[in-house]
Amino acid sequence: MTNPLILFLGNRILADDRIGLNIGEMLKGTLEAEGRDVEIIEESGFSLIDYLEGRENVTIVDSVRTGLHEVGEVVILGHDDFQRLSPFASHYGGIPEALALMRQLDLQVPSTLRLIGIEVEEPYVVSTKMCDKLEMEVTRIADEIHTAVSGQSAASSRYSPDRNFGVSPG
């Protein structure tokens, strides 16, 4: 039985897109002490197979820009959102295809896979600074992510945290 894995994604030079990395660095020690594995990475698409393979429980934390939520809002995303949201954040684009490939090759896919999004303002401009709202609320966002990862739903969401992707192995 593997530890649950929390993947924090982002890009350090694309403005708000770095929020996932910042939150990951803030929570890494706490989450690892609680028995979770943490990876803070700037990778995407098929590369994520290396992290998903052989895992039973994976949570991806990433910036999203849906325009449906306030900037800084933490959103638990459901299965239907996964395909639709690929244009919002490049990092997990291709994951549905990656999962399909893993199944086709009989590689072990996570039985539980979910995405926690952080609504952002500008994730595409080359900048090392996040917007003021994210900068000011980063501690609150980290707390909410921690709560969500722990399975206690404090995040504003259309889905409850236990309504995960329900990906079946094989």
Binding site: N11, R12, I13, L14, I41, E42, E43, S44, G45, F46, S47, I49, D50, R65, T66, G67, R84, S86, P87, F88, A89, S90, G93, E97, A100, L101, Q104, L105, D106, Y124, V125, V126, S127
Partner: protein
Amino acid sequence: MKDIVITPTTRLEGHGKIVVCLDDNGDCNKAYLQIPELRGFEKFAEGRHAEDMPQITSRICGVCPMAHHMASTKALDDLYRIEPTNVAKKIRELVYSIFMLEDHAIHVYVLGGPDFIVGPTAPKAERNILGVVAKVGKETALRVISMRKTLRKTNEMLAGRTINPVIGLPGGVSRPISSSEVEELKRIGNEAVEFALFTLKVFKDIVLSKKEYVDAIASEAYTHRTYYMGLVDEHNRVNFYDGKIRVITPKGNEFAKFEAHDYLDQLAEHVEPWTYVKFPYLKQVGWRGFTDGEDNGIMSVAPLARLNVADGMATPLAQESYEEMFKVLGGRPVHHTLANHWARVIEIVYAAERLRELANDPEIADPRIRNLPSEVPRVGIGVVEAPRGTLIHHYETDNRGVIRKANLLVATQHNAARIALSVDKAARNYVKQGRVDQGMLNMVEMALRAYDPCHACATHTYPGSMPFTIYVYRDGRLIETLRREFR
């Protein structure tokens, strides 16, 4: 008149839009590729310390971070006028060969390969990695995934990180290779060569054995007689990491051979109002618009260009394949754009052989990995062959090493004019009498994918970054605007 817009082009890095304009008979009378994004990365670099550039530039692109890292590192060598130690150069080339092998393999099996392996006229839903698996079999697919994983882990070991490496320093590298790692590298080198030869066999069995595929490669629709450019070593053989930039004419004669430092004497950039991509061309020949031939300075880079400009390959198995390709396709230079796929497979063989050679080099575990810079910085220019072609980084700094001006000239820019030719020519050949089914549209995209263009690099932006807008014109009048915001 009716316009067809293919957007976004699939299995390409970044975001492009192809516009096909039809005449009243439904035939294509003009097609072009638009890159609507601009990030102004060079501006972002101004005011930053030059030493940070290898880390910063590796984040421009999710596909070729190592290429930017290495070009940037070489620009720092030049900036501080410091020659790296011998072993540092070898370690850099070793790491770079691993990166090229992995990147090319991804293109062959995942990005461009589906066009050939699954078939150019197969339904679009099948032309993807799942279709490739169905065609080549599960065992082959697992082998590709396993090799890729091994290569990525190896570069993580050697370069600190796979995606944003930290190995390059002005004058050297950040860590030596231990003797136990050398033994592992030798094993991986052998495995890589076996994998490369296996890939060559897959390509021959599935692609070259089919007459219609070979005919497509040699088709006039995908042929442009342009200049070619690429790095060569002292014997004029292909080299990814270092050497002089060589240019040949459409007839195959050497036109120029120069150091990266002299690139501004050789290359200029043409600007069009409909795209953010600038079109580099040969200054001494001049810009004559979007046409091929000896009188126009349009040139091409990428795998086929590298093989065209070189007198041969530096490793024996790659040399055999090089000779075979030119024999089959009628001698050097080959002008068929789709031959880039074949050239890419040959470069996989070269990268694997070079990896094995360097792993077995007696000097590779030498601990003298760095010469420390002591000169006052001013101008630094570095060049490598990225998977998609020649990549130049140019920095100018104050005497503290703070960047005042940066210029990045990337492979997709070098290819931009020829890509425009390819898109237009393919569309004119395959979109006729109003027939615009998916297979035909894909033929247009195929022309593009053969170059493996990276728009994120070319506009110095990041992939998937913008919603896009479609402008539909009839008789020169804008009749509709379709905007795809985030859903």
